[in-house]
Structure formats: structure tokens, C-alpha cells
Amino acid sequence: MQLNDLMRVSVRQVIRHRRRYMGVVLAIALGVAGFLNIVTMSREVKNNFNENLDLIGGVTVLRIYFDNQRSYRPQWFREQTLTALKRLDGVKELSLTAARHGQKSNFKGQHFAFMVLAVDEGFWQVRNFWPLTGKLFGLDAVNAHTRECVIGAELAKRMFGDTQVSGTDLEINLEIYRISGGLGGVTDSGLANSVFLPLTTAADRFPGRLLADRLYLRCATWDDVGAVAAAIPGIVKSFQSPEELHVEVAWEALKRVQLLAWWIEFLIYLATSATFLLGGVGIWNVMMAAVTSRTREIGLKKAMGAEDRDILAQFLSEALCLSVGAALLGAGIGRILMEILGYVIESRPPENLFFFGVTLAFVFAVVIGVGAGLYPSIRASRMEVVSAIRYE
């Protein structure tokens, strides 16, 4: 029997008995669609979690700093060090900052002390902060060295009795700064009682040398945190002294998030594997039923001169048509789901990851088709003509 005849006959049989096979095909197709979305979208979803969920996203932020109070030779992050850290695998973004403690302000005769944090334009993004009121200054303000600031919500309430303070002037060390916004999304009370200035402005205005000795670094996913944390001292050492360098990671929280994510991923893979397995059992079942209900047909074909291998090939290729057809359908559904999910989380996975997933799904489909279809096909091929023809 030629291959094109075999395929033509098998596809025709599957289409003609589509009602019998529909449930199995749908089960496998949904399994494939789920599998494709796990393969392609899991990293994007983790990424999205990092950005949008403070609890989970916080564990991917590393705080790197030089403890200059303990060092006789002050250190700060050099340009080459920052460039090398940005290029490190698993690093999504970083922000350079400098802190000045004990800064003072007078408002309506009252004295207030607070910390000033001089930050670059990426700080808000890295720390996942958002404006409670007004706006958070950006690249323009940093480049223009503008005299504007962002105020922590608790400090705003303490000084002004209100958080709606955008546009108000704030005096710091006898200099006036315009408040562009109030800071939200802060769980650290130290930061909620701080004032934030553009790094360039603070360098201009504050007396003495402003040392940018703090770095906040966000990893792409929590899986990257360990490797990035381990690599940082070596990279810093390549360009400057790592003396009194500290890398802070929220290890406990990270472990809890990783464990949670591992279980979720494991359960999804388990569910997908179960779907594939059930699909395989389904194919085995429908093929066994098909062999039984088509016993006379098998006898008739053998009477027409079909060899055992012709019957084996026909039933096996029908099983393959089912599983590969289901994989095709699943790839289509998976692509649609991927597009919808990508639209929702505003992120796109690499195309090659999708094609890798499709290839893997097709390999699974072939294995399931052959694995589940082999025994029924062998059974069909070994039928004796007379008993098959006389089967009622």
C-alpha cells in the first residue's frame, strides 16, 4: 500500500468517524494548547508578576551598597561597573541612588528632619513605586537638573497635614524645591518619610561630594536572583575595589515565592501530562472500539488481498491522524490563547519559543499516537479472515 493511499484512506476514515473521535481530539488539543502556553508564556507571566505584584516582585530587587561608614576609603559605583552589571544575564534594570540622612526643613515654624534620597529616572520602575498624587520626575528632570522633588506620603501628612501637595514648595537646607508628586506603593516607613530628588540636582545642590553608593537591581524573574547575586562581587571587583560591598537579597521571601511558583508550575505540568495521558488512553480506547466495530471490514479487506502490514499501517496511521490532528488543533488554540494572554499582560514571548513548543507538542502527539494505536493495530492486523468475515 502506497503512503499517499494510506494517508488518504486514513484521513477519510477519521473524518467519516469524527463523532466517535471528537472527545479524544478535543482533550489532546486542550492539553497541547495548555502546554504551549506554559512553555511560551510562563516566563512572561513571571515577569509580569514581578512588575505588578509588590510582594512577589519585591523579592527580585537586590540592594547593593558600599558601607562607607565602615570604610576609610569611600566607594561609589563607577560607570564601567554599572554598564557591566546591566549586561549581566537575568538583570532587567537597575537604578543608582545616593542617600543623605538628617536633612532639615522648616514649615510654618516647625522643624522637620528626614532622609533625602537622590535617585535616577529608573528608580520608580525598579522599586515598583507609583505616584499617589502628581507625578514622579523622569529623565527630563534628571537631565535638566531641575529643582523638583517627590515626597513620601507619611512625611507629607506630617508636614502639610495632607498628601495632596503637588505644586507646593518645599524648603530643604534653605533651598526651595517644587513638589512634583507624592510617592505611593511604599511599604517601608523609612522611604515614606523621605524626600526624593533627581540625582543630578542633589549632586549640584548638596554640599560636599555626593557618593552614588547604592544600587537597586531588578532581576527578570526570581529564578535569576541567586545567579545574579553570586555574580555581582566578581563584576564589581573587575572595575573597582569591592571593599565593604554588600549585596542584600530577601532570601526567605524569595524561597517562599520560588516554592509557591514551583508548585504552581508542577501542578500545571502534572495536569497537562494527565491530559496527554488521558488523550493516549482515549485513543487506545476508541481504536480498540474501532477495531471491534470494523471487524467485518478488516476481514473484507483481507479477502481483497490486504496483507497484515496493510491493516496495521492503516489503523496506526488513523491513530496518528487523530493525535497529530489534535496537536494541530491544539497549536491553533494555543496560539490564540497566547495572543490573548500576551495582550492582557502586555508582553510577547519570543517566536522561536512558540515553535519549540509546537515541535515538542508534535513529538508528544506522535509518541501518543503510535504508543496508544499500536496494540489495537496489531490486533486488527492479526485477525483471521474467516472469523472476521463471520463476526456479528
Binding site: 500500500m1 502506497q2 499517499n4 493511499d5 484512506v9 477519510r12 467519516r16 467485518r296 471490514e297 473484507l300 479487506k301 483481507k302 479477502a303 481483497m304 488481498g305 490486504a306 496483507e307 497484515d308 496493510d310 483471521e384 479472515v385 474467516v386 468475515i389
Partner: protein
């Protein structure tokens, strides 16, 4: 001609069966269904085999189609020792040298007439472009050319049996074995099938063996034999 063929006398006989026996073991007794069957069939003949139910008619036909193996005896077709063939050679023998028509008008369900006739050609390795003509010729011989693309489920009993005859013919076999081909047909359709058989053997190359218990059908054949208690009698 192979070694087996050279050991068989020709004498122009297409089929030569000698001392054929078939015994079944039901676990308690040995049941002898066929006893020392001897006969020859020549090209152009239509041989009717009659007998009561359970007399062994169908068993003999299944042995001739090598669906069953006899307990002893020899069977030559066109000089070839058929019983010495292995499983694959048996399949090749069935697709190239014999055509089978069953009692119950067995057509492939949910298939067209064309598809039913195409299968023997597929198994015989006939090129796809040659198939339509051969199928059309076979259908014309049973006057069903106009039904070529009809679904087999929508044919009448007589038409289904004629399609079965056309399917047996499509590979141009030397022998057609028909098991009660008119069993489910009325008299006029039964005679029509017999007319087709007569036309088929008129080429002088083909022989047909018909198992029937209908004396009228048997009377239309060129030879009549009957089986009683497993023994074949020529009439």
C-alpha cells in the same frame, strides 16, 4: 513455473483439488467436514456447489480462497501449489488470482461504490491514474457505471450484490468464488447476477465457483456438484 507447479498435471484445468479433507476438533470429537474432495475446474466454467446447511459448502469455498487451511490434500490453481504459500503470498494470491463475492453483500459502509472497488486495486499496487478506468470497466460489466460515485449505503440489495461482483472482477482474477451470491436477492435479481457470471466466463479465461442452495441458480451454471456429509458428488 515454480517447483510446485511442475509437479501438477496441467490438462487445461484451472483448479485441481485432490483428496482434500477438513477436520475440526471441538475439544471432544473430531468433526470431519470435508472428506476426500476431488474435482477440477476449467476456464469458462461456472461450477455450482449445492448442499444443505452445514454440509461444508462454505468451508470448501474458504479453503479455495485460502482463508482456511485444509487438514490434508492438495490444491493447485493455474499450476501453482496454493497450500504451500506463506501468509504474505496468500494475500498476494487473493488480490491477484481470486475474487470473492460474499453472501451478505459485504460492501464497505459509508463509502462510495468507487472507493469499494478501489481497495483491491490499492492493495494490488495499481497506479492511481489507472484506477478510474479499471473501476469503470468492472462496473460497466455489471451495468452499474452510472452508480460509480453513489454511497454504498444507498444502493438496493441487487445493486449492492452487483457492486460486490464488480469488486471481485476489478483485478481481473482467474477465479471468482461466490458464496450464496443470490441468497438475499429476489428471483429476477438472482438471475441477473447469473447472467453477469455467464458473460464474465464467456472470455474463456475465467472460472466461477458458486455455492448455492437455489436449484434454479444451479441450473443456470455449466456444472453442478453437491456436498453431502462432506463428500462431493458430481451431477
Amino acid at each position: 513455473m515454480n517447483k510446485s507447479a511442475s509437479s501438477s498435471p496441467g490438462n487445461g484445468a484451472l483448479i485441481r483439488v485432490t483428496d482434500l479433507c477438513k477436520t475440526y476438533d471441538n475439544g471432544v470429537d473430531l468433526i470431519q467436514v470435508l472428506r476426500n474432495i476431488n474435482f477440477k475446474v476449467y476456464p469458462g466454467e461456472i461450477m455450482a456447489i449445492m448442499g444443505p446447511s452445514g454440509s461444508g459448502k462454505s468451508t470448501l469455498l474458504f479453503i479455495l480462497g485460502i482463508f482456511l487451511h485444509p487438514s490434508s490434500g492438495s490444491y493447485f490453481l493455474g499450476g501453482q501449489d496454493v497450500l504451500s504459500l506463506d501468509r504474505n503470498a496468500q494475500a498476494e494470491f487473493r488480490r491477484n488470482r481470486v475474487g470473492f463475492v460474499f453472501q451478505s453483500c459485504d460492501l464497505l459502509e459509508n463509502s462510495t461504490v468507487y472507493e469499494n472497488l478501489e481497495f483491491p486495486l490499492i492493495y494490488a499496487g495499481v497506479d492511481r491514474q489507472d484506477r478510474p478506468e479499471r473501476i469503470a470497466v468492472a462496473l460497466e460489466r455489471v451495468n452499474l457505471g452510472h452508480r460509480i460515485h453513489h454511497s454504498s449505503n444507498r444502493l438496493s440489495g441487487g445493486e449492492r450484490q452487483r457492486v460486490a461482483v464488480a469488486r471481485a472482477l476489478v483485478n481481473q482474477p482467474q477465479v471468482i468464488l461466490a458464496d450464496e451470491p443470490t441468497g438475499q436477492l429476489d428471483r429476477s435479481h438472482g438471475h441477473s447476477i447469473l447472467d453477469h457470471f455467464s458473460e464474465i466466463v464467456s472470455d474463456g479465461k475465467t472460472a466461477i465457483i458458486v455455492v448455492t442452495h437455489d436449484p434454479e441458480i444451479a441450473a443456470g451454471c455449466t456444472r453442478i456438484s453437491s456436498i453431502r456429509d462432506g463428500v462431493l458428488y458430481e451431477q
